[in-house]
């Protein structure tokens, strides 16, 4: 490896050790998804596993609120009477291990159950038939979950023999008992247990028992029973129909039935089945399976049953898909669409794909956005038709319409949709109403007005305080509904930014803490994410890039001055206090950014003033300055330039102020009257060196930038885990990546000097600038490089100079 290239690689490897993951970090499914339409807002909590998600199922926990179990206990309570509590029934049914119950029964020792009203009821002589049933049920449970030695084969499966006997007993008792309730229960136990027998002898009496005693009734065991009854069917069509019924009738077996249904048969069922009830369930199932557009399925479902409980589920899924297709990009930058900030199709270096067909692909991808928006229009029309015809859940429909109009940007229609809704804060729709109201308000009113901000605050606080009735504990930390407030902050931030209110936008942005596909730095302590009262014992650094990332990208020095003033202001409004961070960064942090912005603008005097006004230990004690700002002089290019013999400077501490003072001194020297051309030329060489050192591959890049990533270049706009200079690239990319300003300085030196050594050095520096910049000629390292104009000049006119000799001997990167 050539020395300069090697040194660059080593340099970059040292810079960001945290970012050198082998494959890059990854995100959880749904983490990069933006959704503000709340799943399950109409109270259909049983559908939680089928909410739209990037996972195959949103959750694998069936019946998250235990609806079926409660229903079963209620059915038992109808037998026992209200003297037996539901909790006691539940406890024996679902919390009591079969061994505990069976041991108590066999040893006639019920001491552990003496407080349980249900066990006491079972132990009464007149209830012996129910106790017998319960003993059998617990025996079945024990046999079903029996686990033998895992290191012994189970081909002979003695447990299956036990299950076979138990299922036969249950079947016998189904026929023997006169008690209708117990008949149903025994028939269920029989069909459930026989399903787990590996090779049952004759299934037909079990199937018959189900058809006779369970199918005509309305017990909770009907839905459960259909699951086992269906799985025991030989006929594929019938099997799938039964599983559909199990899916519809039960909560607890919903996920299991969904997983067992052969989706290929759904179309066949819908073609052959005349029963509208089954058609409805099939359409619902098809809708759940559809990861693309399901608009046509929703239309069909509405035609079959406008009151269908599945309609809100499917409509919610559809809205969430649209949000993912459109808003995930708009607000998070994660998208299937490669479209840049100006709305043009683009690609980022890290996911550059089909390069040869890029032009074709760009066109196709851009078309996706248009089609998505057209689809939103279609869904809006569909919902309007539903509202005109018949739709059971009017409030749901209005909120769904308002949300779609908000996505489309049709705020007049969104306002109209919301107009008819009056909701108390106890309503399950309340949070969704707040979301729509906040989006509408930010888009239709002047958010700079205090009264509007006060209203927004009221709504945001109400949103935070309102319960989430349909969020169960089963949802993980990253579940989509949990981050709605965070997403609302992003919506507000974007709108404030559009209005030019950068500081409010930035504070809201930082308050959001939402993962976006842009480099915001990483949290280095709990202080950055959590208020002090929650933090564990950790050292909090004064400076973290996360605190300033937004302002680095979007703010001017004046905005930052205003931010410092805002921070210090005592009479903040309630809204201003709300958007303020729990713990403000130190002023030094903002000042450093102001100074850095002046450095990018080459306003060195202004930068010096700012840096000199700061705590002079700041750079030594904070962030990575001490690691990446060298002690050697700013005009010293060290091993990059072996022809340079004077090593002028050695800083005593890490200090941007000291560094800039040197640059200012050079600029001042240039402006001094009476300077000879040769002296001026020497100054320009020094200034050029300073500027070259502050480019991406220079030794002092940290004077202009807050990060340096190996594959970073002026074309990429970064991603969530790799730093980029973008969007500062637009204004300063020529200097930072292209070393333009440094080259101009060297050219000035060339024009002024007649000294051959200095001229040779200037050409060498120009060549070095070319090599360190992104303008270097394209060649393979194995090949002979084409000679540049600088090299040609050096060879032709300066081959005898000391600078030339030094470069030829010690600088492998300049091919002389």
């Amino acid at each position: 490896m050539r020395p300069i290239f090697k040194s660059i690689v080593l340099f970059i490897c040292c810079i960001l050790p945290n970012l050198l993951w082998a494959c890059g970090p990854s995100l959880y499914p749904d983490e990069a998804r933006f959704a503000l339409f709340r799943n399950g807002i109409n109270g259909q909590e049983g559908f939680e596993p089928f909410f739209y998600s990037e996972y195959f199922l949103n959750s694998n926990a069936p019946d998250p609120t235990g609806k079926d179990y409660k229903r079963n206990c209620q059915e038992w309570q109808q037998i026992t009477g209200t003297g037996v509590s539901l909790d006691d029934i539940y406890s024996v049914q679902y919390n009591c291990a079969p061994d505990s119950f069976l041991n108590a029964y066999e040893q006639k020792n019920w001491a552990a159950f003496k407080e349980n009203s249900f066990t006491n009821w079972l132990l009464k002589k007149k209830n012996k038939a129910y106790l017998d049933y319960f003993v059998l049920a617990k025996q079945m449970e024990a046999a079903q979950f029996y686990r033998g030695d895992p290191w012994t084969a189970s081909l002979l499966d003695t447990n299956s023999i036990a299950l076979d006997k138990l299922s036969q007993t249950a079947l016998d008792r189904t026929h023997q008992t006169k008690n209708t309730f117990l008949k149903t229960r025994y028939a269920f136990q029989a069909i459930k247990t026989v399903y787990y027998v590996k090779e049952p002898h004759n299934l037909s009496p079990y199937l018959k028992a189900f058809e006779t005693y369970i199918e005509p009734g309305q017990s909770v065991v009907k839905g459960w029973g259909y699951y086992f009854y269906g799985l025991l069917q030989q006929d594929q069509f019938k099997r799938n129909v039964c599983l559909l019924r199990a899916f519809d009738l039960s909560e607890e077996k919903k996920v299991a039935a969904f997983n067992k249904i052969e989706s290929d048969f759904l179309t066949e069922i819908i073609q052959e089945e005349k029963d509208p009830y089954l058609k409805e369930v099939v359409l619902a199932m098809q809708g759940i399976y559809t990861t693309g557009r399901a608009g046509a399925i929703i239309v069909a479902l509405h035609q079959v049953n406008p009151d269908s409980k599945y309609l809100p589920l499917l409509l919610s899924r559809e809205i969430n898909k649209i949000e993912d297709w459109i808003w995930s990009y708009t607000f998070l930058g994660f998208s299937s669409l490669g479209i840049n900030y100006e709305g043009k199709p683009t690609f980022s270096y890290w996911n550059k794909g089909y390069t040869e067909d890029e032009a074709q692909q760009k066109v196709l991808i851009a078309a996706n956005r248009e089609k998505d928006l057209e689809y939103v229009d279609g869904l809006c029309t569909l919902m309007a038709k539903m509202a005109d015809a018949h739709f059971a859940d009017k409030d749901f429909l209005k909120l769904a319409q308002a949300h779609l109009y908000n996505i489309r940007g049709n705020y007049t229609a969104a306002t109209r949709a919301l107009a008819g809704i009056t909701l108390p804060d106890t309503s399950i729709y309340y949070k969704q109403w707040l979301i729509e109201s906040i989006i509408l308000c930010t888009n239709t009113e002047d958010i700079n007005k205090p009264e509007v901000q006060a209203r927004l605050l009221q709504w945001l606080q109400a949103f935070d305080a309102a319960p989430s009735p349909n969020i169960s504990d089963n949802e993980g930390k990253l579940a989509e509904n949990e981050d709605d407030l965070s997403e609302l902050f992003l919506v507000l931030s974007k709108k404030f930014q559009e209005k030019g209110l950068i500081n409010t936008a930035g504070l809201l942005y930082n308050k959001s803490h939402h993962q976006r596909n842009i480099y915001d730095g990483w949290e280095t302590s709990w202080d950055d994410a959590y208020p002090p009262q929650k933090k564990p014992n950790s050292v909090s650094p004064k400076m973290n890039y996360k605190q300033i990332a937004f302002w680095d990208r979007n703010a001017s020095p004046q905005d930052l001055e205003a931010l410092i003033a805002f921070k210090a202001r005592q009479n903040k409004t309630a809204f201003e206090l709300y958007v303020s961070p729990a713990q403000w960064p130190d002023d030094q942090v903002y000042k450093d950014l102001i100074g850095t912005k002046y450095m990018r603008m080459e306003r060195y005097q202004d930068a010096l003033k700012v840096f000199q006004s700061m705590d002079q230990e700041f750079w030594n004690d904070n962030y990575h300055y001490a690691d990446y700002l060298p002690f050697t002089g700013i005009s010293d290019l060290r091993t990059y330039a072996p022809w340079e013999k004077t090593r002028s400077k050695y800083y005593k501490k890490t200090s941007k102020a000291d560094i800039v003072a040197d640059i200012v001194a050079i600029v001042d020297a240039l402006n001094k009257p009476g300077l000879s051309n040769e002296q001026k030329a020497a100054c320009y060489i020094q200034l050029g060196n300073c500027k070259l050192n502050m480019t991406k591959n220079g030794l002092f890049w940290m004077m202009l930038s807050y990060g340096n990533f190996g594959q970073e270049n002026r074309e990429n706009s970064g991603n969530f885990y790799t730093y980029t200079f973008y969007p500062n690239t637009i204004a300063y990319g020529d200097n930072y990546y292209g070393a333009k300003s440094a080259m101009i300085a060297y050219d000035k030196a060339l024009k002024l000097s007649k000294n051959k050594e200095l001229q040779a050095a200037a050409y060498l520096y120009k060549e070095l600038a070319l090599i360190l910049s992104d303008q270097k000629p394209d060649y393979n390292y194995d090949e002979k490089r084409p000679a540049t104009q600088n090299v040609k000049m050096l060879r032709k006119y300066f081959a005898g100079t000391k600078a030339y000799e030094a470069a030829a001997s010690y600088c492998a990167d300049i091919d002389l």
């Binding site: 590996k198 550059k352 991808i365 996706n368």
Partner: protein, 345 residues
Amino acid sequence: MSKSLILWTLFIAILCACNNADRKEAKIKSVYYWKYNGPQNDLDTQVLRHYGFQHFYVKLMDVAFDPQSGKASPKARLDQSKALEQAWNLPHTPVVFINNNCFLNMDSAASRQLALDIDRYIKSYYRQLNVLYKDKIPEWNTLQIDCDWTRSSKDRYFYFLQELKALNPQIKLSATLRMYPYKYPGQMGVPPVDELSLMCYNLGKIKDFNTVNSILDVNEFRTYLGNQQAYPKPLHIALPCFGWMAWFRNGTYQHILYLTEDQLGKAHFARKANSNKYMAIKDTVIAGQYIRVGDILRSEWPSAHDLEAAIDLVSRKEKNIKGFSYFHYDTVLFKKYESVIKEQK
């Protein structure tokens, strides 16, 4: 010596050499049966005969580390013997897959215990098979361990293999060998077993858009063979008889889609010329996924030609090849590779 005598001597010598070549050891042709839930007689003996398979490998169990108990434990097992009802009495080798996390998390004592447990399981399995099939199932004479061991798990894995062999000195112990440890026996070590199955597939990085075919890319395969010496143990060569599509969106890997090229309708996908990449030209739902316009599906189906080239390359380098095996048993996929499987002797 007269010229004619010299010629005759030369002729006889060539003839003898040809005879010797003919008498070289015949290669065993095998197939891997890798399912746990196959229907009755899924492993069809007629199919085995049709393709000339004289032997099969059957996976009996998956073992993984259980963090709760802190022990290796079975995660999945072949509890239904019916799928191989007709085939059990044919020559076969039981296989146990062990997740490498076992050896990363266990000490030597636990590795030895795992050898004891697996030995117990295999013995009980064949005892029960003989109860079911009235003592007609021959005792197994080879046991294969399948494990993606790494340098950090090597010592415990090798110790486990030694202990397993010590428990059954009379049987041949076999193990699978990935291409990386095959290429670097010096660094990775040579497993202490009697023979190895070299898995000539899953060579590339599926998530890398620039990978040609992560299952088998002959150029990539060639780099693994290198110029080194032959592997110091007898080898069985395992070749892929499977494939899938790798799905990319904006160059970012999404999922594997279990699709063949035939399933990609021309109305929805355009094939890039001279490439195994397909671009979606219409939004579509396929294999349960919503594919957007511009998405790329990279077909990762090794061609019959690829298999032939791999056989040729490895045969030229390795002289101690005992046989060739195909992963895995699938009657539909066999048709795609029929010419290779049937012609391979």
